[in-house]
């Protein structure tokens, strides 16, 4: 090729500072990677690791009962021992756990048919409408939804009014009301992963199962559920962990009942015992770690 024809072609772009930086980045993948993840990594370390470490350390301090000041000099396991042995904390932990478990089971049971309808039965148009309908409650404030349930369940509220002719009574304020409200609030977080999981199951697998002679129930048990398991676990992690840490709903509709969150809140605030609050906060964290480890063993996290 002669020089003349080369010059007749489009001249290469001019060398600018930005281009030089780009060129250097394209040559050094490690630098590129470092720049990409350094900011989020720093954030993670600060927010998660440091905050958790601070919590653990705080749990080892005590409060001077006379002045109310934090005593940072004496390191003690008293708080942790108290949390593990005191009957009150055991009761509240069990109560919180069973509420979280009940909410999760209810949400999964409600979410499965809804998600199945959305993913496999509804027309594309209806599907879009349903996705929006599921997402809409997320746009409303958590407090608004909790208070909405408070008024619904109240004396002479919607439930009583509608249920009266049928002899149905409102459960009133208490643990059932907490379960109902929490199940309602976290439901979208369970529907969406299960819906996404079902979308990934090809229809032909369902056809194939049916083709080979499997009835509906058999197909659900042998094909859909095993494939959907990771998605159900993902949804369950949301509803379980969110319920485990909640203390507002129980204040609004729970009557006199307390959950772990309330104990943390009271101790960190009114009772002015930050070390005990920290020690209590370690309970749901430990439960979640055990839960996730158990889930990991089933292999459900591999497909997330």
């Amino acid at each position: 090729m002669s020089l003349d024809t080369a010059r007749a072609a489009v001249s290469p772009p001019r060398e600018t500072a930005a281009r030089r930086v780009s060129a250097r980045l394209s040559r050094t993948p490690r630098l590129r990677l470092g720049l990409l993840i350094s900011a989020p990594l720093a954030w993670l370390v600060l927010v998660y690791v440091v905050a958790l470490a601070a919590l653990l350390i705080t749990a080892l301090w005590t409060v001077d009962s006379f002045t109310g000041d934090l005593d940072r000099s004496a390191w003690t396991l008293d708080n942790l021992r108290l949390v593990l042995t005191e009957q009150l904390y055991r009761t509240v932990t069990l109560r919180t756990l069973s509420i979280a478990a009940t909410v999760t089971v209810i949400d999964v049971l409600v979410a499965l048919p809804i998600a199945f309808y959305m993913a496999k039965v509804a027309s594309p148009r209806v599907q879009r409408i349903l996705v929006i309908a599921v997402l809409t409650p997320l746009w409303a404030s958590y407090l608004v939804k909790a208070y909405a349930w408070r008024s619904t369940l109240s004396d002479g509220g919607l439930v009583e009014w509608l249920g009266a002719p049928l002899g149905v009574q409102s459960p009133g304020y208490g643990l059932p009301a907490v379960v109902i409200t929490q199940a309602y609030i976290w439901l979208p977080y369970v529907i969406l992963p299960i819906f996404a999981g079902l979308e990934r199951v090809p229809n032909s697998l369902l056809d194939a199962s049916s083709d080979l002679g499997a009835g509906t129930w058999r197909t659900v048990r042998s094909v859909i559920m095993p494939l959907l398991f990771p998605a159900i676990i993902a949804g369950a992690i949301f509803s379980f962990s969110l319920t485990l840490g909640d203390y507002i709903t129980v204040n609004i509709v729970g009557g006199a009942n307390q959950m772990l969150g309330n104990l943390v809140y009271t101790n960190a605030g009114a009772a002015n015992n930050l070390p005990l609050a920290a020690a209590l906060a370690l309970i749901p964290i430990t439960i979640m770690i055990v839960f996730l480890a158990a889930v990991r063993r089933t292999g459900a996290l591999d497909n997330l």
Partner: protein, 362 residues
């Protein structure tokens, strides 16, 4: 459709009577009548959207007919669920269960039928041996190649001994070599098992190679039904003539001008011979039609040459020349030639020239 009346035909495995299926405003299957015989290799051929796959899904029971009636081995199954029908399907995407290994996939139909574990594993292994995959029984589907998955899907369907096997473009995702190999294996398998195969494809060559009979679909209807030779040699409409293989199609005006006949005619490219034009004008003989023309394109195919000729009146013509020996002199662009063919090779067609014709010629 013309059944070979008089000759004794085997019992009917599948029968469709004016079956119609609509999706909204679209009529996917339009009053289709069809009889498929026991032990037959039957192909449904057509472009995508012609309704062939819908007919297959109607037979399998995944879709329900809006009108009409479907019988399987004499039993009305129009409203029967797929799991109560004695047919099995090999899916286009194979539809293997990703969470089960190959053996469990194949044994699934037996497990559903409550066959004991030992027995069903034994039968599944036999089925896997039939498709020569016995050594891969412990693998997961994602560890297999496309051809292997295909065979697992086949084994999974035949292990339950269906009377009819439905195959929905099963070779579509395979590369050419593998496809040709699988075609042979499918044909052998069908002979060995002696069960009815209903095969959906858009590949006309595949349909011609494999089938005992072919139904050509267009816009939800069967436009022609017959043996591969009938479909290829005696296409009834311009659509069939151009969809199955390549055809030169002469419309009414061209037929009058060139052939001195009325109506539309089809002529297969391989029935035409070309010879160099030497001075004298071509004379039309009784046993041969001869027309002069110029070569506009000569494409080397390996097995021969595809030559595009513009006849003296402007009509385009495609000619397929087999190279029988290496010394065969290739044709060149710009050469003037005489195209000759026997009037017996002209196939009279019904109906107007379909738009597809032009597409196929290019």
């Amino acid at each position: 459709m013309t059944a070979s009346a008089g000759t004794e035909s085997p019992p009917i495995a599948i029968s469709l009577r004016s079956v119609t299926k609509r999706y909204g405003d679209v009529t996917a299957v339009d009053e289709v009548d069809l009889d498929i015989h026991d032990g037959e290799f039957f192909s449904m051929l057509g472009p995508s959207g012609s309704g062939k796959t819908t007919v297959l899904r109607l037979i399998a029971g995944f879709e329900h007919a809006d009108e009409g009636r479907i019988d399987l081995a004499g039993r009305d199954v129009t409203d029967t669920a797929p799991f109560d029908r004695d047919v099995n399907t090999v899916f286009q995407d194979y539809a293997l269960f990703p969470h089960m290994n190959v053996l469990d996939n194949v044994a699934y139909g037996l497990r559903v039928r409550k066959v004991g574990k030992r027995e069903r594993h034994k039968l599944a292994r036999e089925a896997l041996d039939t498709v020569r995959l016995g050594h891969l029984a412990g693998r997961k589907p994602h560890q297999l190649s496309g051809g292997q998955r295909q065979r697992v899907a086949l084994a999974r369907s035949i292990v339950v001994r269906p009377k009819v096997l439905l195959l929905d473009e099963p070779l579509g995702a395979l590369d050419l070599k593998l496809r040709e190999q699988m075609q042979v294996e499918l044909k052998q398998l069908q002979r060995e098992l002696g069960i009815t195969f209903v095969f959906v494809t858009h590949d006309q060559e595949e349909a011609l190679t494999l089938s005992d009979r072919i139904a050509v679909f267009s816009e939800g209807r069967i436009v022609q039904l017959g043996s591969p030779a009938e479909i290829y040699e005696r296409p009834r409409t311009p659509y069939v003539a151009s969809f199955v293989g390549t055809s030169n199609i002469f419309d009414d005006a061209t037929s009058r001008r060139l052939l001195d006949r009325t109506g539309t005619h089809a002529l297969r490219p391989e029935k035409i011979t070309l010879s160099p034009l030497r001075g004298e004008a071509p004379a039309a003989g009784d046993d041969e039609i001869r027309v002069a023309g110029e070569i506009t394109e000569a494409i080397y195919l390996g097995t021969g040459q595809r030559i595009h000729v513009r006849l003296e009146d402007g009509t385009p013509l495609v000619v397929l020349e087999q190279s029988k020996s290496a010394r065969h002199e290739p044709e060149h662009r710009g050469d003037t030639v005489v195209a000759a063919w026997s009037p017996a090779d002209l196939v009279p067609l019904r109906g107007e020239v379909a738009p597809l014709t032009e597409m196929e010629k290019s």
